[in-house]
Each structure stands twice: as C-alpha cells, then as structure tokens.
Amino acid sequence: MDSTTRTSRRHVAPFRSTVPVLLLALAVSLATPARTQDNIFTGTNSGVAIIRIAVADFKPLNADPQTAAFKQTFDATLYADLASAGNFDIVSKSLMPPGNPGAPAEVVLPSYANAPASAAFVVFGSFGVVNGKLIANGFLFDVKNLQYPQVLAKQYNEAPGDDSARQIAHRFADEIILHLGGGIPGIAETKIYYVKLLGNGIKEIWSMDYDGANQHAITHLGTISISPRISPDNTRLAFASFGKYGSQLKMYSLLLNRYIAFPSGNVSSESPAWSPNGNELAYAAAPNGSFEIWISDSNGNLGRRITSFHGGNVSPSYNPKTGAQIAFISDRTGLPQLYIMNSDGSGVQQMTDVGYASSPSWSPNGQFLAFAWDRKYGPGAPGGQDIYVMEVATKKWAKLTHDGGRCDFPSWSPDGRHIAYANSADGRAEHMRIWTLLVNDVSVRRPLTGPGADMPNWSWK
C-alpha cells in the first residue's frame, strides 16, 4: 500500500455524488488533524438528512392484564429499533408532550412540532389484547403537514405473546424506516447467526434477532461448529464442524429443521460464503494439503479451485452487489493479508500489506470491505486487533473500533449502516461477545450478547 493511503486516512469520504463533497471532506479532515475519531461515510445516507422523530408510547386499547406487559415490550422494541436505525434523531422521552394519542383524532400535532419536542414526524398508535388477539394500530404523521399529516397507517393482528409484540414492533419500525430512510429497507426483522461457546470446548451455531433478543440454538452437534453463513434467502445455514477429518462444511436447512447432505469426502474445508444469488458457495478446502479457495454449487457439487498459492487462502466473501468479486485472506506474502479477485480467480489485488488481516465482509453496496486488522502484529508487539473499513476502489481505510483487546468477524447489516462484530476486551476467547456499531457514527455501539458469543453473521434480509 502506498503512503498516500495512510496519510489521508482520517476521513474516508466516498460520496458517490460529487467531487466537491469529496474535497470538502478532505478539507475538513486536514483542518482537524488531531481528531481521534474516524468517520466513515458509506453513502447509505446520501441525500437523506437525519430526521427528528417523536416516538410516543402506544395507548392501551383496554385494561386486559396481558396488554400492559406486551405493550411494554412493544414500546421498548419500537423505540429501540428507531433509535438504533441510524437515520433518526429521537425526541427524548422527557421532552415529549403529555398524553399518549391512540388514534389520529387524539393527536395534537403542534405539541410535537413545537419546542421542546421540535419533531418532524411523530409515531403513535394503540395496542392491546382484544378477543384473544394482539392488536396494534400504528401511525406515522408528518407534524408539519396539518392538512394531510398521515404518512403511514398500519394494523397488526397476531396471536398474543411477548415474541409477537416484539415482531410487530420490528415490522412497524421497518415500515417507518423504509418510508423515511431513503428507500432502504430497515433491518429490524433481520437475524444474526453466531457461534455460542458452551462448556467443555463445545461450540454450537446459534441465532438471535438483530437486537440480541430471542437467542436460541440451531445446531446440537456436541462438537466444535464455527463460521456460520446464512444463505441470501434465509433458508440454509452453511457452517464448518469438526469431526474425524477435522473441519468440514455442513449445511442446515432452516425450512426442514435438519441437516442436509453436503459432500465433503475426507477433505478439510472451512469458511463458507454464499454468492448473492444463492446458487454458489465459495469456501476454503485443503484436498492437497494446503487451503485454497474453491467454489461449488450450493449443494457442494461441481467444486472448482479458484486460487493456486501454497499456504493458506481462507475466508472468502462475495461482493454482494455484483457477485463477480471475492475478497479473501492469503498468506502468500507472509502474514495473512486481505486480497480481492474476480470470482473466476483472475485479477488478484492485494489490499493490505502490513500487519495481520482477517475475516473480510463485503458491504451490501459493494463499495467497502470490513475486516479485522492487527497492524502491529508480531511477537512482543502489543497491537490490538480492530475492525477496519476499506473503500475497495481507493484502498483508503479507516478504523472503526478502538476497544482494545481483540475484535474480529465484522459482518455488515443488509442496509449497510451497521456492522456486527465480536470483541473480547482481554483477548480471551471465552470473553468474546457480539456488538453492533453504526458505521456512520461509531460512537453508537452496543453489545448484543454476553460473553461466550463469537463469529456473527448478519442475515441478508
């Protein structure tokens, strides 16, 4: 990598729109050289300002004893979904006007438009268990448009339950985000698959909602299972599991709730990656004593080798926008570094040339690579391993985490606004936990799990 890449790293500003914006960003970066916080503009918010929005607690429909508990879950989930989406400025609860409007006739729009709320939009509605059904009526109103304020009106009708309340909130939040977020679907209904560390060295594949709720086991193999990768249509989970022949790929059907055949012979294989059309699987396999990148169809047949460098070639990640490129990790020059190539193996480009790089994840818009990097890796060098983002076209990079310890396995959310990753503050594997951060504002981070969770993989939708 050349030196200009390093000196201009403070602000990576790949706005697609205009050169002036880029220059402006560069100017800002030069004007504030002492800033420690890197900011990444991933383009996902281009043309859409941060919107100030008031989220009112929903009005209970009745005094049913179930209503209160479920409504608390619903209100908290909806608020958290919108607050963490990355494109809203949420009106603090203490600045909200009194009362909870349950229907359009009850909402007093100026009370939300005026200070101190000063909101542009208000979310409100009613919620309750009626005749054994969980009913939610949700509204999104434009408080500045007094004549036709209604932007969105939704009714949900589900079997009562805490999980139903949460799922309804996720669906309503995604509707709001789709309308106000520049047309990019929300992620509140997505899942994160990950490795759960159980006792005795056993690791199983688990799943959770994107906000850390609903954590549950997928596999029960009683061995070491790692590197979960969910298919683009959310129906199949590829992962690697240890048996007699070491690590081998396995496939689990989330429709059939059972393992489905995936031929491995007696060859070691690992780190699967789905092509965006779901028809192909890239992975690392070592039939001849050294791991190379291979591609097969999604049933594990018709495997063909893509790389040819003795050593280690692992962790492929497709460009999800085009499906025509693959990022991967190779040690052909010494320590493992980040590379990209075309999916037929041609056009190999080295993206990093110092330290120790691992675990690439290609952003949904195809412009960025997230990866883990220890830039001062070596004996005695106390380099931390952090999450970095690199713009593929320019090889400019920025550091997203400053947590200390070890960060690994970044995985982009499907809206490209968030990255899930694993962090262990003291570097110990058993203390790994899964976090998410907002790429545009990495100060917004939160843990999704407790210790003992690793290798997150965010679903495609």
């Binding site: 050294s290 692992v314 493992p336 691992s358």
Partner: protein, 293 residues
Amino acid sequence: MDMDRSLNMAPDEPLQSQMDVALAVQEKPMTHTQFFQPKSFLRSSLRSALVLAVALAIVSGCHKNAAPSLSPESTAPTPAPLPPMPTATLTADPLAIDLGQSVVLNWRTTDATNVTIDGIGPVNPNGTQTVSPSASTNFHIVAKGDGGSIESSVRVTVRVPVAPTVPADNTASADMGSEADFHANVQDIYFDYDSYDLRADGQAATVKAASYLVAHPDIRIVIGGYCDDRGSAEYNLALGENRANAAKTALVNAGVAPARIRVVSYGKEKQFCTEESESCWQQNRRAQFSLDQ
C-alpha cells in the same frame, strides 16, 4: 464356547454336568420331555439348580428309557379304571439366541385340564407363544389332569455379548509396539510463531519418529496441527493444516509411506494451555502425533 458360558448358571456346578447338558442339547436339539422322578431330584442335588435337574433328567432319559416313567400315584396296584395320564411336550425354536432375539415356544398336551407355564401363567392345552428372554431361561410347563400331573421343560440359551477384555499393557502385537513406546519415540513437534517451517529440534524429532515408524510398519498415525489462540480462527485452520503437513512431509521424506499418515488441522480450536504467555503459546503451536485407531 458360547454355549458353555451361557449354560453355566451355577458357578459351582461341576464341569462334567455342563458338558453333559451341552451334549444333551446337541443330541436332542428340539424336545426334552421326561417325567420327573423324585429319585432324580434327590440324586441331582446339591445346589439343586433347576438347570442341572433338567439336564440330569435329560441325561437319564437318554440312557435309561427302561426306567419306570410314571408318577408315584399312577403306580397304584389297580390301574384299570384310572383316567389317562396327561402328557406334555414343550419345545422352543431356536434353542439358542442372541440377546434381543425372540424364541417361539410350542407346547402340546393331552388329557390335561390345567396347563401352566412358569413365567407365563395359565395357558391353553396346546399353543405357541413368542418370548424374548433377557437371560438364559428354563421354560417349565406343568400339565394337570384327572390322571395326574406332568411336567416338561426346555432351556433357551441367551448369548449375552461380553465386552472384550483389554489386554494388559505392553501386550499389543509386536508390530504395533506399545502406546508408551510410540509416544516416547514419536514426539510432538513445536513451531515458531506464525510459521510452519520445521525448526532444528523439529527435524531431529521427525528423524527419530520416522525410524520408529519404519520399524513398526503396521502403525498408522494422525498428525494434528494446532495453533496458539492469537490470530484469526479461520486462518489458523490453514496454519494448523500446514504445520501438520510439514511434519507429514518430513516423515514421508524419511521413508514413511504417506498412506499411513492422516492429517487433521484443529487451528486454534483446541488449546492445551490457556494462559496468555509465550511458554503457553509455544505448547499450543505444534504438530501432535497419535495412533490412528
């Protein structure tokens, strides 16, 4: 062998009795019907294991068919108006089974009003039943009629699998050598940080290991490749594979057939030492040899 063992219900029985029984079973594989005689019971004796009783009855039946075969009651001096003596036969097919298999019991009686089989209860005068005993069993039928009572029995032998006994240390076959010898001669190879090149100590270890393996051509081995817990899990699988293959290549170059060697990488997934120190990391960075079993 099986039959002897399975018939040996009472450990104190004399060997001769067991053999008699075995012999009897062989001679008359299907049916053994005999009137029980009090004398037989007395003679047969000591621990009066039923099996022995039956066996001796059978034996005596084989050799002493001329002996009176009527119950004491029926030997009354005025035989003419007496009701007919009941008869009973009980057979089992097959006579010997493996644990979990089943046996068809088949019985026929005549002139009996009340027929019972031990363990089954009252049964029809003639019938069949499938049973699946969990241990060798004597099935015993009692047929009572106006003319008296008669008994018959059949023994079903159940072969219970016996776990193979583990030979004591150092009794493995000569070609395989002992596990202790193996580990004394074929020792783990340690690697530098992020490297899969054999160091000088690793070269020496593989020379010693190869000479032992060449001398014991029946040994097949697994080489496990391991890494310390720093770095990427997925890349470390490749590093472990390379370490194990470096050891394999050294052995093959020293004359060990490649087909005898299997390579498995565990990457950083199985840590022997979990402290964050160089000495601990060194223990984890290794190619480990074990017998392929």
